[in-house]
Point group: C2
Chain length 305, copies 2
């Protein structure tokens, strides 16, 4: 397939590496910024090296184009990864629609907007798909999909399944989809804990990494409660612990990101980061993710792909 | 050390395996139920086999006692893992205090109660410590600690550090400590998504396992936002994405665990579980956890122990 990347930041680079390195697709990419375009090839190369370590290696080319028309020519799939600005994305879709055929899928990596918000202005909205992944998209497997048109959705499921991804189709659209809504809920409480002086940033991250997130990464939240219910499983859990969960919900915080709270959070993060720069943290993150991805091929998680 | 386990369910068994198998402590255990006592030794043996695979093997004995006095005799550390019932736990502490010396630490595995709630009735509350871990405690490393008395807290940090755990000291007490508050916040939104028909149980668990929880298990929530902020890090993130997080918080759900919602959740869990029983799910969970624990010894997470 001919796949076009619109928006060449880290998400675009991860997608490009995946589409070419795993799917063998011909990838052309465009970004309005010459600097971003200039940095793209190196990013894609690093990501493809990681995929190659995971056993995925092709000679499919990734070409950076100076003009968007050139990138869009003959596209079967367009993956848009522009900044989260509604007007900007809408403008891009107009441009894309005028350059591609009617059966080209236009997919958005938006992390927050809904299909209705983004697809409203399209002439052929029936081929517009929400396809959101978590950074880096070539290593974190889930892709959240939404499209009211069954045909386009089926094509998207097939496309991402063949790329070894875990497509999850939302039944209704929601701002932030599934994962980022769960993340927002969790982080709201984390900010509350910091704001109230119950725990600092590093301790919250430590608890997550070495506690709940470790468990969730293996079995999700619901299977955790199911096992927690013992022989009676989730039914026992809901009957006996459900009421106490409702009571706990009532005690959760509703913080605001005031200047003071933001300062506390930023100071906490700088403290936990120490002298590591973003590139070093990304390297460490990617190494861990790759090792876990390889591990899961041998020992599957409780909910399979 | 002489360590006494009060409460021989799965948490008690995991602790016993850890205390004996990693710490080399002499462990005696008691539970009021003969059935639970009867099943204990097998559970501990399985957990010690897992620890042995992880490189921890000792010949320290774990003895199950029929009478609590026998279990408490000469104890340096008592780990209470009774059901989450305030009155029951309070009664146990009275019993324990009458049988141990003043410098014996009494630690509670409570997942929800605070130090003030539990410690109020103790004669020597200064040696009472909240020490909460996530099931299974011999494989999930974090231990949430709270005790207003610095001396006892220091002893607890030392005790769990020597067991290879990740102790995290709360600055103030809070119902549900840190991890279960984050978990409650996340699950509230998960229940909302199910109740509103946006996603079903299995899809939510899939998204967690193959998306946010995978990332959190490597780098926590705050380091994720720090990397997400690009070169500007967390400061950039808070400035530019903070306001949209606050807007998203306002859209999060506030569901109730009605009979209808509970039925939807239970049906979803049974669907994702299929014909696997709890024991099989536990085996699969433990295998994954063990592999990740071994992995982290070689490739550390972004926030180390």
């Amino acid at each position: 397939m001919n796949v076009t990347i619109v928006g060449c930041g880290s998400v675009g680079a991860g997608w490009a590496a995946l589409f070419a390195g795993v799917g063998g697709h011909r990838v052309r990419a465009w970004d309005p910024s010459p600097d971003v375009r200039g940095a793209f090839t190196d990013k894609v190369t690093r990501a493809r090296e990681q995929l190659s370590e995971l056993g995925h290696s092709t000679d499919a080319e990734v070409i950076v184009c100076e003009r968007i028309e050139e990138a869009l020519w003959g596209a079967d799939w367009v993956q848009e990864n522009a900044p989260e600005k509604l007007e900007l994305k809408t403008q891009i879709y107009q441009h894309v629609e005028s350059a591609v055929t009617h059966d080209c899928i236009i997919a958005s990596s938006t992390s927050s907007f809904t299909w209705s918000q983004l697809g409203a202005g399209l002439k052929h909205g029936e081929r517009f798909v929400i396809a959101h992944a978590f950074n880096p998209p070539h290593l974190v497997p889930v892709v959240e999909l939404f499209c009211p048109n069954r045909g386009a959705l089926d094509r998207a499921v097939k496309f991402f399944t063949e790329l070894g991804r875990v497509p999850v189709c939302m039944k209704k659209e929601a701002a932030g989809h599934i994962g980022n809504r769960l993340a927002a809920a969790l982080w709201r409480e984390a900010v509350h804990l910091v704001a109230e002086g119950i725990a600092d940033v590093e301790d919250i991250d430590k608890v997550l990494i070495h506690g709940p997130a470790l468990r969730w990464s293996v079995m999700g939240a619901h299977l955790g409660y199911h096992i927690g219910g013992g022989e009676g499983g989730i039914d026992h859990y809901l009957r006996h612990t459900g009421p106490s969960q409702e009571r706990r919900w009532a005690t959760l915080g509703n913080p605001q990101l005031t200047a003071e709270v933001c300062e506390k959070i930023a100071a906490g993060v700088h403290n936990e980061v120490g002298d590591r720069d973003i590139a070093e943290l990304e390297r460490q993150r990617d190494r861990q993710l790759m090792e876990i991805v390889m591990l899961r091929d041998v020992y599957p998680t409780l909910v399979r792909k």
